[in-house]
Subunit: 416 residues, 2 copies
């Protein structure tokens, strides 16, 4: 057989970071990019331009009219692809991974919550809000009374990175969204505002023939609803707690029949189901509640590029081709990923002399994007033995890429 | 400033393996490839076709007529570029790294031996052979008498991977090469056939502003004159021996004013200069003799992709852009690189199900080349704690990619 061809919808940094893995495996990547010169288009030789919602573009991605080899599988770097088209592609013989029946769980939060509840996965309390605005208002008011205080209203579809999420104390505060839903906008659901101690994430990979691998549970630190830092593995987690989180994620991957990489974002909450204080050191027992799902390589897994034997990007390609999955062991005791969200510099490459000079061990990964406020422009991974030092270095390198001074200890940054 | 642009001459696997590093650093790579679809052309979006000896192609690589950004620096994945042209480019303001005055030392073995001898670098005994065939014959015969037994005749230019090298016991055995040299072919030199215990290599990176970094000394195992396996770090080497080898390599990088990555291939010989037995454990003292130089990323450094914080490919890009160099620490006690030279399979990707299944921790790197006997098609890196196990796994994975059965212990390959 000739080299396998993987078609990917979406030309951002996630598709960009698949490219090195594809090269190493000898796999041909064909990426549908939104415009010439996107993050992925800079590093993928076969990058036709088209919209993810354009049926013709997707069909040509899979079976190019000009005679390039047809794709062996279709996958995604985001979930915004019409499922009817995907179902039709599958019917005509193209594997789509993850398949639409799985993908819908990452597209529609109401569908997802229903299914997770059926599977017995631990979730925050939640209810869908009726489309009728008066009924929706009443349901929301009742939910708020039940949970006491605040709750989180979410759009069922289209939200990401803190968008489509609003914390409310009264039903009136969601009046505009309720009206929008009634007018044909996205449906709404409401969830309890979980008093979490921190956020965790578990990354799982699963191939069609059933093999599943997970990476260690990580701690994910958000800023304004966007992932800003990931610590791998999550500090101060007992083996039992890590195993519980892992099992929740694996059960979801299997229960939803996910193929490829699945990121399960979780809340860690301090109390056990019955409020018991559990662990031997007197620390309250902890459990996890599922927050969000993403069926693709995810920001919480960028650390794997430098901190694990197999990166999430390579694993995703292996999984969607139904190839055996790779070793997910860590290559260092700690790896910290720091995101670069926006920058005061005209271009991030301007910071390379400073950042590479100050942090020779920093693994800098620039996405080739134009600078815009708050935009995900790059990340940095640092690995090592001492978590405090590793964090300080990762955050310092990210600060320099944002055009900011080092947070602290500027003078001792140069490693001996 | 906008993204730096690095122009690279040569479209093989070395340029291919620069691509992931360029992507991560946000650097634009423009590679002059020998033909469409070469190893590098598959993964580099800006890959004009042209010969390394074509002045117009090189000039267009640096300053494209169509208005693409000019290159900030010119570098190479092989040494076969006309030096006159490079000198002219430098005169007109394009940095060429390594510069021709350094590069010539990797192009011409007589020039290299003369300069290394001047620098005091330890070399095998050697003499250049006069172009006149009778004088050449006499010089060779005299050298053979002096060293006793055998010697190695080499073409001064054009040799690589065992080509341009012949072991002779009498001057008559080189008669055809002497005649060819007299007829305008490459000049010849003769070197003693060193009774080496093994081959070592030291990889150095140096930037124009002077910063130098080395990776640990490795053992390089050749098969038919071609690198087949590399063990990092070289086992059973004392700290003093490693430091001596390192210092030899650094002195060469500095003495020759190399910029970018330099690989110094060395022979390890068992006796000290005076035949003394030196070390405390009664083992004969060892010293190194310089064998060959390569001024670019080199096969002896492929292990760094998975076994070092900074790979030789990223380091080369950083060095030629005069950016601060990266940490060269290892990420595991042992990393073994096994080359795949030829295969009985129609395509190496055919072996992916087997090789990834048997060795989930193997870092497989396919070069996207058509299979031909003895051709460098791929390599595999395996890292770990136990050298015997690491070697067995790397060699096993390479065997599967060659279409061969596993060397041994087939049944226990699946990792628990």
């Amino acid at each position: 057989m000739s080299a396998p061809v993987i078609a990917v919808v979406g030309g951002g940094q996630l598709a960009r970071m698949m490219a090195p893995a594809a090269g190493e495996l000898g796999v041909h990547l064909r990426v549908l990019v939104e415009a010439p010169g996107t993050s992925a288009a800079q590093v993928v030789t076969d990058a036709p331009v088209g919209a993810a919602t354009d049926e013709g573009a997707i069909r040509d991605l899979i079976a190019p009219a000009d005679g390039r080899a047809p794709a062996d599988v279709l996958t995604f770097e985001h979930e915004h692809v019409p499922n009817d088209l995907l179902a039709d592609l599958i019917e005509h013989g193209t594997p789509v991974r993850p398949a639409p029946h799985a993908l819908v769980q990452a597209q529609d939060k109401i569908v997802m919550r229903r299914r997770l509840t059926e599977l017995g996965a631990p979730c925050p309390r939640w209810v869908p809000l009726p489309v009728d605005p008066e009924q929706g208002h009443a349901t929301l008011a009742g939910f708020l009374a039940e949970v006491g205080g605040q709750a989180v209203v979410k759009t069922s579809r289209g939200g990401y990175d803190g968008k489509g999420v609003r914390v409310v104390s009264s039903a009136d505060e969601a009046a505009d969204w309720l009206a929008a839903a009634a007018a044909g906008g996205p449906q709404l659901l409401v969830e309890e505002k979980v008093p979490f101690t921190r956020e965790l994430a578990v990354l799982v990979a699963r191939r069609p023939s059933g093999e599943v691998r997970t990476w260690p549970v990580v701690e994910s630190i958000q800023r304004d609803g966007v992932c800003s830092e990931v610590i791998a593995p999550a500090p101060d987690l007992t083996a039992d707690e890590a195993e519980e989180a892992r099992q929740v994620a694996v059960a979801i991957a299997e229960g939803l029949d996910v193929t490829g990489v699945l990121a399960v974002e979780m809340f860690e909450v301090a109390e056990g189901p019955d409020g018991a204080v559990g662990s031997a050191d007197g620390r309250p027992a902890r459990r996890v509640l599922v927050n969000e799902l993403a069926m693709r390589p995810h920001n919480s897994g960028h650390w794997t590029i430098d901190g694990s034997v197999t990166s999430q990007f390579e694993q995703h390609l292996r999984a969607v081709l139904d190839l055996p999955l790779g070793d997910t062991s860590t290559t260092a005791p700690w790896t910290v990923m720091a995101n670069v969200l926006g920058s005061s510099l005209p271009a991030l490459t301007d910071a390379l002399p400073d950042v590479l000079g100050a942090f020779p061990d920093a693994r800098v990964n620039l996405y080739g994007k134009e600078v815009r406020p708050g935009r995900k422009l790059a990340h940095v991974n640092v690995s090592g033995q001492d978590l405090g030092e590793v964090r300080r270095r990762a955050l310092g390198a990210a600060a320099l890429l944002r055009g900011e001074p080092l947070p602290e200890n500027r003078t001792d940054e140069k490693k001996a």
